[in-house]
Symmetry: C2
Subunit: 105 residues, 2 copies
Amino acid sequence: MAVSKKEGFKTEDVWLADIAKSLSHPARIRILKILTEMNVCMCGDLVDLLPLSQSTVSQHLKELKRVGLIQGDIEGPKVCYCINIKALQKAKKELDKLFNQVCAC
Amino acid sequence: MAVSKKEGFKTEDVWLADIAKSLSHPARIRILKILTEMNVCMCGDLVDLLPLSQSTVSQHLKELKRVGLIQGDIEGPKVCYCINIKALQKAKKELDKLFNQVCAC
DNA sequence: ATAATCTATCGTATATTTACGATGAACGAT
DNA sequence: ATCGTTCATCGTAAATATACGATAGATTAT
């Protein structure tokens, strides 16, 4: 089975792994960086900036939306994407918690 | 194709995505936490602490070794795993760079 | 030497991920 | 009303990820 056995793990660890999964593709890293730089961005602009087809970019956006790191607001025929600051801050906090145990040596 | 198209992306983004991928499973998050708490840990101990078979745990350890976040030293018949502090610090630094652009608002 | 222990790897099955083109739904413009 | 634009979703193909048991290799103990 390729299904992660989530039964035996803390929800905290499952959540953090899920966030990490959403960051586990260069396109999604790039999308987050673009959105942080531009604050907001139309989906079409992202398609132009990435070496991927429109449908593939849409899939990556869906993955980032799934974990709540970004949100998309419909503006007429276009969709305006932006960072969900609160979610990103929580992700940063949890990752710091993981890393700082080590770096406090 | 399921292969990530890495041609069109910055090596920096590819690297960070790869680190994130190595963190994208609850078992590997747990392993890192255990190793940071215990400093060092035998592979067998990790198997006891995780709800997974020995071979599966070994696979997860291999993934963390692949990206350099941990290292394993053979001690007789056992293998002693520990965190690679430098790699983890670099990962933290790069992730902060991604997150801080947002949080500096 | 033999047995027991520990861990990595192999083989395998299944689920998920990634990618693309094609299609569909929603909206604005003509 | 029709057309063009924008984006999500569907269908599909191929690679990867996850999990396990079985096996192999190395080391220690007997």
